[in-house]
């Protein structure tokens, strides 16, 4: 399958600062691709480069088979962008905003008007469509900005922090929307977010950035296998574990236990190589008289991987 986004060795500089540093990744049609990283990681710059707003210093870019530098205008007919701030014309009404952006996208008047009505209904803004955006709440502005991004039925949707500032209900409806556009409409979504739970829930593939550099990429399972293979198990004990590290050492030495992290004097988190290790370990602990009160297996989360990777960076920086 041909990639809808292909980024190869991409570099971009703001003055002397290398904001995107030899970045490579790709996205397939219908993917929800998460672009993760702290502020200044290069996420927004990457979105600007992918839409032809900036010209790369070096590297190759293809989006929907087009070169964003030379075919930016044609490309932007097929992309929709939710910017980090809603960037709406606050002195205009919601309908005037959508009419303006629909015209700019080249939509014909009849299609534009029916689509505006449809989206205003979908985002529950119809009753306030004639109000100036200045009087909207933050959540309403974000919904209107999303409606603007979807207005011309883009093939790729770029969402920069789409749930930032939204209440849980509104966030939930944005999540549902993202799932709908990718699964039902086949649209590709590139999601820039700090919200790791959101990314874990929504993204098929992840690209983790730091200071413009690629830290890791792949599906969550691929990242788990690559950076934190195994399964975490939280064990709870009735009594505090004996003082000293004898008990912990014994658990750590058990075949298949990869990692051990004491969380309190009665709880321990273990990383095991595979599920089959768990019953054998439990049998051993019980045989040794341990009063086990709980056993909660959990998958390695994106958060674990993210912080594991970030910790690596911090350690490296400290060493340097």
């Amino acid at each position: 399958m041909e990639s809808v986004i292909r980024v190869d060795n991409l570099c971009y500089r703001y003055g002397k600062h290398l904001a995107v540093d030899h970045l490579s990744f790709d996205a397939q049609p219908g993917d929800v691709l998460g672009l993760l990283g702290p502020n200044g990681a290069g996420k927004t710059t990457t979105v600007r480069l992918l839409n032809g707003l900036l010209e790369p210093a070096s590297g190759q870019l293809r989006v929907l088979g087009m070169d964003p530098v030379t075919q930016g205008c044609d490309l932007r007919r097929h992309t929709g962008v939710l910017t980090e701030t809603p960037a709406l014309y606050e002195r205009l009404t919601a309908r005037q905003n959508l009419t303006f952006f629909g015209t700019m996208a080249g939509m014909d008047a009849a299609d534009r008007e029916s689509r505006i009505t449809e989206l205003l209904d979908f985002f529950d803004l119809s009753a306030r469509a004639g109000d100036r955006v200045a009087v909207y709440s933050k959540g309403m502005k974000q919904r209107l900005a999303l409606a603007r991004a979807l207005l011309h039925r883009p093939k790729i949707l770029f969402l920069d922090e789409p749930t930032s500032g939204l209440d849980p209900e509104a966030s939930q409806s944005v999540h549902d929307l993202i799932e709908t556009v990718s699964s039902q409409n086949g649209q590709t979504v590139l999601l820039c977010t700090h919200n790791l739970i959101e990314a874990e829930r929504l993204c098929d593939r992840l690209v983790i950035l730091d200071r413009g550099k690629l830290l890791a990429s792949g599906s969550l399972n691929e990242l788990r296998n690559q950076y934190a293979p195994g399964l975490w198990v939280n064990l709870g004990f009735l009594n505090p574990l004996p003082a000293g590290d004898g008990a912990l050492k014994e658990m750590a030495a058990f075949p298949g236990v990869l990692d051990i992290v004491p969380e309190s004097d009665q709880t321990v988190a273990l990383r095991v190589a595979e599920e089959a290790v768990i019953p054998a370990l439990v049998v051993r602990l019980v045989a040794q008289g341990a009063a086990l009160t709980s056993l909660v297996p959990r998958q390695v989360s994106l958060e674990d991987i993210y912080f594991h990777l970030r910790q690596g960076i911090s350690t490296l920086q400290e060493e340097v």
Binding site: A19, L53, E55, V81, R91, Q96, F100, M104
Partner: protein
Amino acid sequence: MKIEILKAIAAKDLLEVRQNKAAWVPMVIVPLIFVLLLPLGLILAPQLLNIPLDEFLADPDLEIFLANMPPSLMKTLEGLDAVQSAIVMGLGYLFAPMFLIFPLMFSTVIAAESFAGERERKTLEALLYTPATDGELFMGKVLAAFIPALLLTWGSFVGYAVVVNTAAWPLFGRIWFPLASWWPLMFWIAPALAVLGISATVLISIRNQTFMGAYQLSGSLVVLVLALVFGQIAGVLYLSVGIGLLVGLVVWLAAAGLTAAAVRSFRRSQLLSAAGG
């Protein structure tokens, strides 16, 4: 270039200007002063307050103005009495270059609102993500400033002609305004100044983050108009038809140079780099 896109940008920008009091209030007050209050004051006050206008003609500054006046302009004063001459000189000649403030002011206010205001309100990036070309964005915004600036200038000129002729009717008994020297001012220099004002404002707006900052800086172009005003008072530069055409040519050349620089600077990558990424 797609006309629909240009129209959409221009209409949107004008809708925004209409909602910004800081932008449109000066565009109403200044013409009211220049078109209504000043001419009425100059024509009616001497009659109402019984001020002798022949004393005005004896003013030493005006003597220099009269002494150096080209014969073509002098002709228009032939056969006029002291009061009529004072009005023709005051409202017909001395006041003429002041009128050039209009195209500059209107164009810079709207352009500052359109270019710097867009950045100030953080709406620029959304606009840059549209499929419009850099040229369409630039031209749409230029038209949003140029067309209203010119229409308002010409509207003020028509209003001024009506006020001046009506108020001075009892003294002249005929329509004496506009003088020939006003035609190049209005239809040659004024459009050039509007383009100059817009281009300068675009260049200023690329670095200046606020509407007010860009407007105040581009407002310094009024110095050009003041140079014409004082040049005429000092008897150095008379805005006759010929001189008007020549001055217009110079302004057009300057405007063309600035516009070329503005077009080069108005590129997505530069606008975002200037915004700090």
